[in-house]
């Protein structure tokens, strides 16, 4: 069904630690992995799924490590990749950073976790908060009675333990919208979408029942709230954390859940409604072979005047053999980053409706280099607080707990750049 064994390899392909779950694939088969990877890379046919004879390798890379699952069956590939990413998440929560060093430093606990995360190829408990309740770095003494199975592990509510207590009951709600944009070289928008996430920071006692109300158009239509007064948003595809009752949402669009403790992502949504690109870039990159490159970039804030975009960074590609940069900016500062072959123009604060200009000048060597270079796009990073492009709003957050305490929800809105690319000619 899924993985036969899971390996963590160093960057050279040497196994650091492994766990054999099913025993139907010889552990020595992993030796074929690295040569295969190198070979496929040379052929330009690298894919996340490699096979050697009857053995299939499903792999992902994380910092200087490879996580590889082997199988000889028709395994559920999406489950395996999903599991490998989850494993990384758990290790990161345990060791802060996951790299070769941290695996070596914690091999005992890595073994313990691998034992608990998966059994005979079936993923089991992968919630790091719950795992931390019974697999701890301190060695467990049985007499303390601490290392009982937390009932949470097998509960229907497998993400929250009972008996959590806070003096002050609060929930912080972050509504973060990322704008993905793809503009082609002649300035027409190919793709514009908003990917929103709602993140919660929960400090609540007991087992609270939460209900989140949004200005969801489908809900408004269901409840007859739609009208000129209430602005609503059509969420195209909504994804929820496992705590949300999906069938309830499917029935009447109610978002109800018992939250995990602390930080988590409650939901994400996507809207493909086209919005005016928030920061619009016009660029002229003129390349005079053997002598120089001249770059002119104009940036315009196409959002409300009251709003301000913070930490704007516009990265403009330059040829890899460019030298002696010179810049002129109407606002902010420009910096040449040769290792990435870009100029980064940073503007700390960019109010809506404003337009700024940057000019750059580079020298080019008189001998042109052989290989052809790609044409990377211009990338833009920004963050606009107190604002959502989609107009989504949290209408209410109801918190009910049987002890009847009063809890305060706090809401914050941010719009930021996602995958924001403008192709250059």
């Amino acid at each position: 069904m899924s993985a036969s064994a899971v390996f963590i390899l160093d960057v050279k392909g040497k196994p650091l630690i492994s766990r054999n779950y099913k025993g139907d694939v010889a552990m020595s088969k992993i030796e074929h992995f690295m040569p295969l990877l190198v070979q496929r890379e040379e052929e330009g046919a690298l894919a996340p799924l490699l096979s050697h004879g009857q053995v299939h390798f499903l792999w992902i890379k994380h910092s200087n490590l490879y996580l590889v699952a082997t199988t000889s069956k028709n395994a559920n590939a999406s489950l395996v990749y999903s599991f490998l990413y989850k494993t990384i998440e758990v290790f990161c929560e345990y060791f802060k950073e996951l790299e070769e060093e941290s695996i070596r430093d914690n091999f005992v606990i890595v073994y313990e976790l691998l034992d608990e995360l998966m059994d005979f190829g079936f993923p089991q408990t992968t919630d790091s908060k719950i795992l931390q309740e019974y697999i701890t770095q301190q060695s467990n003494k049985l007499e303390t009675g601490k290392s009982r199975v937390p009932p949470t592990v097998t509960n229907a509510v497998s993400w929250r333990s009972e008996g959590i207590k806070y003096k002050k009951n609060e929930v912080f709600i972050d509504v973060i919208e990322s704008v993905n944009l793809l503009v082609n070289a002649n300035g027409s928008v190919l793709l514009s979408e908003i990917v929103g996430t709602i993140k919660l920071k929960v400090f609540l006692s007991g087992m609270p029942e939460l209900r989140l109300g949004l200005n969801d158009r489908v809900l408004f239509e269901l409840t007859g709230l739609s009208g000129s007064k209430n602005k609503s948003v059509e969420l195209e595809d909504v994804k929820f954390h496992q705590c949300v009752r999906l069938s309830r949402f499917d029935n009447d669009r109610t978002i109800s859940f018992i939250p995990p403790d602390g930080d988590f992502e409650l939901m994400s949504y996507r809207l493909s409604t086209q919005v005016k690109p928030l920061i619009w870039i016009e660029s002229v990159i003129e390349k005079f072979s053997h002598s120089r490159v001249e770059i002119m970039v104009k940036a315009k804030g196409q959002f409300k005047k009251q709003s301000v975009a913070n930490g704007v960074e516009i990265s403009v590609p330059v040829p890899s053999d460019a030298d002696s940069p010179r810049f002129k900016t109407s606002v902010g500062s420009a910096k040449y980053v040769p290792e990435k072959n870009v100029v980064i123009w940073s503007i700390k604060s960019f109010p809506g409706g404003k337009e700024y200009l940057m000019r750059a000048h580079f020298g080019l060597p008189s001998v042109e280099k052989e290989e052809v270079e790609g044409r990377p796009p211009i990338g833009v990073k920004f963050e606009i607080p107190y604002f959502t492009v989609s107009g989504i709003q949290v209408r209410y957050m109801k918190i009910i707990e049987k002890s009847g305490y009063q809890a305060l929800p706090w809401v914050r809105y941010i719009t930021q750049s996602g995958d924001y690319q403008l192709r250059t000619s």
Binding site: K22, N74, A77, D105, Y111, N184, K239, S272
Partner: protein, 940 residues
């Protein structure tokens, strides 16, 4: 302090020292020692010598230490099976520990120690753990049953663990249910015959309830299990779909894909007219699009699956073209997959945008990606006729870039465009010719040569161009050589006066100086053709070419249906059935989509529905036939040929013309008969056609002999199976054509109208040549006789068994499928095999394709046998007498174009009257059927 210090001890007497430490009295020291042992194990050192010492540490109340010892055991028990017994007692004890963590740990580890001797000791503890009060222990024990089953299946069955496992599906705890489902699915997968997962509406209901409560992984186990269920009717399918759709909103991509699998599968059962069907289609698109924002590896899996979904149900994503636009930082494997899907979604509505994108991609730097983008432009031209002109001009722009691989790729696709739209874009040939010198890849060279040959009359210096290729003839690849040969012959036929020398030269190069049999054969055929009958040569070589299909690389529909059942798995990523990459037959079950039924009818004909999708909705794809004859028509370069009737017929007829005209009836067409016999449940044991003599047509196309055998009509479809319509029939043959004689009887109480008939694809390309025409409505108890002409040019698909034919006919929209049980006397063209050709072909077919049979009690002499067979269109090519035995060399051709050569050895005066038959054929599967036919004919 970190654990890395345990890795540092590399002293000489390490093992000895560790031994001492392991036996230390101090607990702390012991634990440190075990950690060192595990560290050594991790870096691959052999520490199995310490087995007894480590096992001695097993009895401890320290959980961490216990886990380490267990880990050690899992690694080394197999190498020390005798000593592993030492651990059994502790395991048994630990399974009764008051702490559920320990109980679960023990039962989990036990299952991982794959030592036969131990397993039997584990049954009792496992039995207890399966009934444990703590769900954590139960869920672990459930998995342990699957482990044990993997080691000793018999033991698990004898001990009744499977029943206990089945009971756990009703457990109160969702996690236990999920693991029990996973374990049962795993066991069922390796034992496909066992009816373990006995799914019924009640158990499905339980699973659907647990689906709402268990972890993300549990949801996947349950969804994957649900996907194997076959709902009894469309209502049940819809109600399951309704309860599965909420999973599309799960944050875990794997849950989403497994849900998509269930929905795609059950959707097959829903009527397209249903409102719910439309709703479901709409609900599927957004989650599929969102999968593209997942991690790249998951995106890759999603894209490979979307590729399948787009082929199966194009309507789902037809408006989502933009999300497949390639981003600069996408990994290359994502880029290539996106490109593939873009082409599939290209339509008149979005072609402008697609072309602009493709043009952009074609100027990127990654060679593979650029090539694919250029090829994609060509595919767009072929797919969307309105865009062809724009595509061609885009390709010309790209050729102007002079980037070598772009030019070559462009020429390859332009050749296909010429094929699709003849006499439309030839004006660009001049531009193409300019780039002749830069072509260094065989495919591009071959394409260019094809173009020059095809349009030789419009290219003034065609002879010079081709001559320039001829210089290095022997260094070219086979593909180029074959193409060059054909192109020069074409040129000669078009401009005979100036090019005689050139054609002589190429023919002698191909026939005398080449080691390649394909090339030599083609050379000889052209040579003889040209020297005997130039007119026929013209007809053959310059024959009109079949159309090329719009879609290329389409997955064959039955495979596609199978792959849809495997969404999310490796099979869906490889686009191969699991049997192609999973070892052995074990664990491989062919899955197919459920049949589309309407609940009202399902009660009447539950098991007769055809497997696979309803015919007629699928795009037709002709599987590659490896047809040597098609090769002669230089079709070898083209993408799959489309339009079954036209394409197949022209290939076959063309080939026959070539051989018939030029080589003095080189290969005679024999009439072979596709005997569609009982193969599907619809055949209710009706008598299988009387005798096999009707296998071969006895009248033959020329009408030499009379007495074509016609089987009496048999009831193919009893009235009770088709709402009162009874169909009986047989196959007949009338002067060169085959017909299906049907007798329709209305045994219902109502008048019947709107009759229709449809043939599923079959091994012999059998299809109705005309629509079923029943002129008047059929009143109750009335019977009507119809003769339905059949053709053998339908699309061919290998069936298992070969002679399996499924036909559906009936009233209105719901055909009742059945399998005609009479043998169909089908036949095709005339002719016989030329002697030398026979020899050459006989030698050419590998020996492993030879099948030998004995026909007993056949008192015929050679002449009698020969004439008997001849009347059934099996032709005797030659006769010899070797050591008192008569040897007959014979040939026949099946209607689907397969040639069979036969050697018949008759021993006159042999008392047992045994005749030996050797058959050679490129498709050895047919041998058995041919043998049966021989036997029938000779004994009749």
């Amino acid at each position: 302090m970190t654990d890395s210090k345990y890795f540092t001890t590399t002293k000489k007497g390490e093992i000895f020292e560790l031994k001492a430490e392991l036996n230390s009295d101090k607990k702390e020291k012991k634990k440190e020692a075990v950690k060192k042992v595990i560290a050594s194990m991790t870096v691959g050192k052999d520490v199995s010598a310490l087995f007894p010492d480590v096992v001695n540490c097993m009895q401890t109340d320290n959980l961490e230490l216990k886990k380490l010892v267990y880990l050690y055991l899992m690694n080394y028990a197999k190498s020390q099976p005798d000593m592993a017994i030492m651990a059994v007692n502790t395991f048994v004890k630990d399974c009764e520990d008051p702490n559920p963590l320990i109980r679960a740990l023990a039962v989990r580890t036990m299952g991982c120690i794959r030592v036969d001797k131990i397993t039997e000791y584990l049954c009792e503890p496992l039995r207890k753990c399966l009934k444990d009060e703590d769900p954590y222990v139960r869920k672990t024990a459930a998995v342990c049953v699957a482990k044990l089953h993997d080691i000793n299946a018999q033991l698990v069955e004898d001990q009744g663990f499977l029943d206990t496992l089945k009971d756990l599906i009703s457990d109160s705890n969702p996690m236990v249910v999920a693991n029990a489902v996973a374990a049962l699915s795993e066991i069922a997968e390796s034992h496909p015959s066992s009816n373990l997962l006995d799914l019924n509406p009640q158990s499905i209901n339980k699973l659907l309830t647990a689906l709402n409560e268990c972890t993300e992984w549990g949801q996947i186990f349950i969804l994957d299990c649900l996907a194997n269920y076959m709902p009894k009717d469309d209502r049940e399918a819809q109600s399951i779909c309704e309860r599965v759709t909420p999973r599309l909103s799960h944050a875990n991509s794997a849950v989403v894909l497994s849900a998509v699998k269930v929905l795609m599968k059950f959707m097959e059962m829903l009527s397209k007219d249903l409102d719910y069907y439309g709703t479901l289609l709409k609900k599927l698109a957004p989650p599929l699009v969102t999968l593209l924002s997942a991690e790249p590896e998951l995106q890759y899996v999603a894209l490979r699956n979307i590729n399948l979904i787009v082929q199966k149900r194009p309507e789902i994503l037809k408006h989502e073209m933009k999300v497949f636009f390639v981003k600069y930082n996408d990994p290359i494997y994502v880029k290539l997959e996106k490109l593939d899907i873009m082409i599939r979604l290209a339509s008149q509505a979005n072609i402008a945008q697609v072309l602009a994108e493709l043009k952009e991609y074609a100027t990127e730097v990654d060679v593979d990606f650029v090539r694919k983008a250029v090829r994609a432009i060509g595919r767009c031209a072929i797919k969307v006729e309105q865009s062809a002109e724009r595509c061609v001009s885009t390709l010309l722009d790209l050729i102007q870039t002079k980037v070598n691989y772009v030019v070559q790729e462009a020429i390859v696709v332009i050749k296909d465009i010429f094929r699709k739209y003849p006499n439309k874009y030839e004006s660009v040939i001049a531009t193409l010719c300019e780039n002749l010198d830069s072509l260094d890849e065989p495919e591009a060279r071959a394409a260019m040569i094809w173009i020059v040959g095809e349009y030789a009359e419009r290219i003034d210096n065609a002879d010079e161009l081709l001559e320039s290729f001829l210089e290095g003839f022997h260094d070219e690849s086979t593909q180029v050589q074959l193409q060059l040969l054909t192109a020069i012959v074409k040129l000669f036929l078009k401009k005979p006066t100036e090019t005689q020398e050139l054609v002589q030269q190429v023919l002698s190069l191909a026939t005398q100086d080449s080691d390649n049999p394909d090339l030599r054969d083609r050379g000889y055929i052209y040579w003889r053709l040209l020297s005997t009958d130039p007119v026929a040569a013209k007809e053959v070589v310059l024959a009109e070419k079949p159309l090329i299909s719009e879609e290329t690389d389409l997955i064959e529909p039955t495979l596609l249906d199978e792959l849809i059942c495997y969404i999310g798995t490796l099979a869906s990523v490889y686009h191969k059935p699991p049997s192609a990459f999973v070892e052995g037959g074990r664990g491989v079950v062919h899955k197919s989509l459920p049949p589309r039924t309407a609940s009202s009818e399902s009660a009447e004909s539950p098991e007769t529905a055809p497997t696979g999708a309803p015919p007629g909705e699928q795009p037709d794809v002709i599987p590659a036939q490896g047809d040597l004859l098609g090769d002669l028509l230089n079709l070898d370069l083209g993408p799959p040929v489309s339009g079954p009737p036209l394409a197949t017929s022209s290939v076959q007829m063309g080939a026959v013309d070539l051989l018939g005209g030029g080589l003095d009836s080189l290969i005679g067409g024999t009439n072979f008969v596709a005997p569609p016999t009982a193969a599907v449940p619809a055949n209710l044991g009706a008598p299988i056609g009387s005798g096999l003599s009707d296998l071969f047509d006895l009248t033959s196309g020329v009408g030499t002999l009379s007495g074509s055998y016609v089987a009496p009509k048999a009831v193919w479809l009893p009235a009770m199976k088709a709402k009162g319509l009874e169909i009986s029939g047989t196959f007949t043959r009338q002067v060169g054509s085959i017909s299906m004689d049907l007798q329709l009887t209305n045994k219902a109480l109502q008048v019947m109208t709107d009759f229709a008939i449809q043939f599923n694809r079959n091994s012999f390309g059998l299809a109705p040549a005309a629509p079923l025409q029943v002129h008047a409505p059929l009143s109750p108890n009335q019977t009507v006789e119809i003769s339905l002409p059949l053709s053998t040019v339908g699309s061919v698909m290998k069936m298992e068994p070969l002679n399996n034919l499924q036909v559906g006919s009936g009233q209105g929209r719901h055909p009742s499928p059945y399998s005609p049980t009479s043998r169909a006397p089908l036949g095709s063209v005339e002719g016989r095999v030329y002697r030398q050709m026979f020899l050459a072909t006989w030698k050419d077919i590998p020996n492993e394709n030879e099948a030998q049979f004995q026909i007993r009690d056949c008192p015929l002499n050679a002449e009698a046998a020969s004439s008997k067979l001849q009347s059934s269109n099996i032709f005797t090519v030659a006769k010899r007498n070797v050591e008192g035995q008569d040897m007959l060399y014979q040939s026949l051709k099946l209607t689907n174009g397969i040639w069979v050569l036969a050697e018949l050895r008759i021993q006159p005066g042999n008392p047992s009257c045994t005749v030996r038959l050797s058959l050679k054929c490129r498709a050895p599967e047919v041998s058995q059927h041919v043998y049966q036919a021989y036997e029938t004919i000779l004994k009749n």
